[in-house]
């Protein structure tokens, strides 16, 4: 790496320089990772940060602007926006991570089969084409209107439109990897097909899957907020960012802080996850990393 260039100038310098290089090369991963860790920590530590119950009504202190007691102000029922935002972060994270894991697992399985077997390819890719023709938000809204809303249903409604994207990506990666000599070499020593898939092909496909999963996570956080805002997401009594913004939209002119803070948190979280995804891609994809 930097060894050859930095060696003559001494150890301390080369070390500092190497550290500087890592920071400059992986700035996105550091900023994104730090921001996301901070947001996760805030959400998890919500009871330690704020004494208020996110759903407790306090009509006397309604629509208060940010102040010493209520740092982010209160809404039209006097509920503390800071508590609601932090607790809402838990929901968003849970939905985002669950949807990323679920669509990652299901999509990878479908993609592996589609990449390896022609019959599976023909069937699954046609279904995928069909699903991708429908905008994910419409698909999710349509699903939500059919069943009683709940967190699990929201996760399923977000996962289904994401599965085809992951499946297609994995399929395309598998199509490349299965032609590599090392796969042929493994087959030439009598390796069984399941082992070939899981042991030889899947690990080589992992990088794009991980990166794609972070993007799914970010878009799931956003989609959850959309659904909440449209009133078809998580039940309104549960504070999620979408729900808080939805509740506050009628008071925007009176009390902008109701939508401002959860909105800012939403933006920051989506941005940090995306930055982390970009950073991880640069870190793991040697072809991109070696260019510097």
């Amino acid at each position: 790496m930097s060894g050859a260039a930095a060696a003559p100038t001494g150890f301390a310098f080369s070390r500092r320089r190497r550290r500087f290089r890592f920071v400059s090369r992986h700035l996105t991963i550091l900023v994104g990772g730090t921001l996301l860790t901070l947001l996760i920590a805030l959400s998890l530590a919500a009871p330690l940060i704020t004494p208020y119950d996110p759903v407790a009504l306090d009509v006397i202190h309604r629509l208060r602007p940010p102040n010493a007691q209520h740092w982010f102000g209160t809404d039209n029922y006097g509920r503390d926006i800071l508590s609601r935002t932090l607790y809402g972060g838990r929901i968003s994270l849970f939905v985002g991570i669950s949807a990323a894991l679920a669509s990652g697992l299901i999509g990878t399985t479908i993609g592996l089969f589609a990449g390896m077997f022609r019959w599976a390819d023909a069937i699954s890719m046609r279904i995928t084409d069909g699903l991708m023709a429908i905008p994910s938000i419409l698909l999710a809204v349509a699903m939500m209107t059919l069943v009683r809303p709940g967190v699990l249903i929201v996760i399923i409604a977000i996962t289904i439109p994401e599965v085809p994207r992951v499946a297609r990506l994995v399929r395309s990666v598998v199509l490349v990897i299965r032609e590599q000599t090392y796969v042929q070499a493994a087959a030439s020593i009598g390796t069984r097909l399941p082992r070939l898939l899981l042991h030889h092909i899947l690990p080589n496909a992992l990088t794009p899957i991980i990166v794609q999963a972070t993007y799914v996570c970010a878009s799931a956080v956003l989609l959850e907020a959309y659904l909440g805002f449209l009133g078809v997401g998580i039940p309104p009594e549960i504070p999620s960012w979408g729900n808080i913004i939805s509740d506050g939209r009628t008071y925007v002119q009176l009390a902008i802080w109701i939508v401002l803070f959860p909105g800012a948190f939403l933006g920051l979280m989506v941005m940090s996850i995306n930055m982390l995804g970009d950073g991880v891609r640069d870190l793991l994809d040697q072809r991109l990393a070696n260019r510097f």
Binding site: R118, Y182, A185, A187, S188, I189, G190, H200
Partner: protein
Amino acid sequence: MPEPTAPPALEIDNLTTCFDTQDGVAVAVDGMSYSVRSRETVGIVGESGCGKSVTALSALRLIPTPPGRIAGGRVLLEGRDLLQLGEADMRQVRGNAISMIFQDPMTSLNPVLTIGQQIAEIGMLHQGLSRKSALDRAAEMLRVVHIPDQRRRLEEYPHQLSGGMRQRVMIAIALTCSPKVLIADEPTTALDVTIQAQILDLLVELQESTGTAIVMITHDLGVVSEMAQRVVVMYAGQKIEEAPVGALFEAPLHPYTCGLLAASPRFAEERNEAGHRRPLAEISGTVPPLTNPLPGCRFAPRCPLAEEHCRRAPPPLVERRPGHWAACWHAGEMPPVPHA
């Protein structure tokens, strides 16, 4: 030199492999036959795309199906027809009785698995070894292929090894189960010359100690002359000449073989008055498309001796001298190569 009476370890008999393409059926291997005995090395020579590798992959039944399929013939491993075996039995043959080494050691090892995992896999597959004893066996195999510091190497990943090292690892994997037949598909093409010589020496040494039959696929006539006892020359999916290595180099019968020999560079060669070496000879033209084979001799369009008869009737493979077969209407009529 092996005894001529010994039964062949591997015999490929009239093998035909086709690929269904959009332009029609491409017959990549057309009635190919050759055999190799224990302790013997047979060189398979021919230019790119002439079916050398497809023949070998067909023998292991590793042709991707579809689009490929084996349309006919037999592949006999010590008399047993591999084309009749079930898939489970075939897996027992791969890596166990027949092993293969591939051309590019940079891509034939899985980049995300350690060397140890990759060598141990074959021992666990075919010898029923536990992970630990398979790793012990892997270390032993690394010693056999002269890689020092085996325990540390087992922990390393392919990118930490040089090309020659990786090819040694591939040889270690291929020979773990002491196969009857080793198919080496251009094992030295991707390596530089000094490493090539080391790898070839290693193969010879291991063949002497294990008695493995080697099928050496190459387009490097130098490798063939060093390694092989017999040579099979392929053109457009067919065998056009087969001879003991000495006979082939001294008196090639087929015009294509003559062309191949003329096209190989020579180190010690007389120079002309200006001090320049003779320019390398070439065989003009390209291999005809396999989807639409010519009615007559497939080499006719590129052959200096071709005449009307060659274009109409395919020449049969005839034994012109003892052990020396050629498929040409004008076998042996090519003027001798103007070499030093």
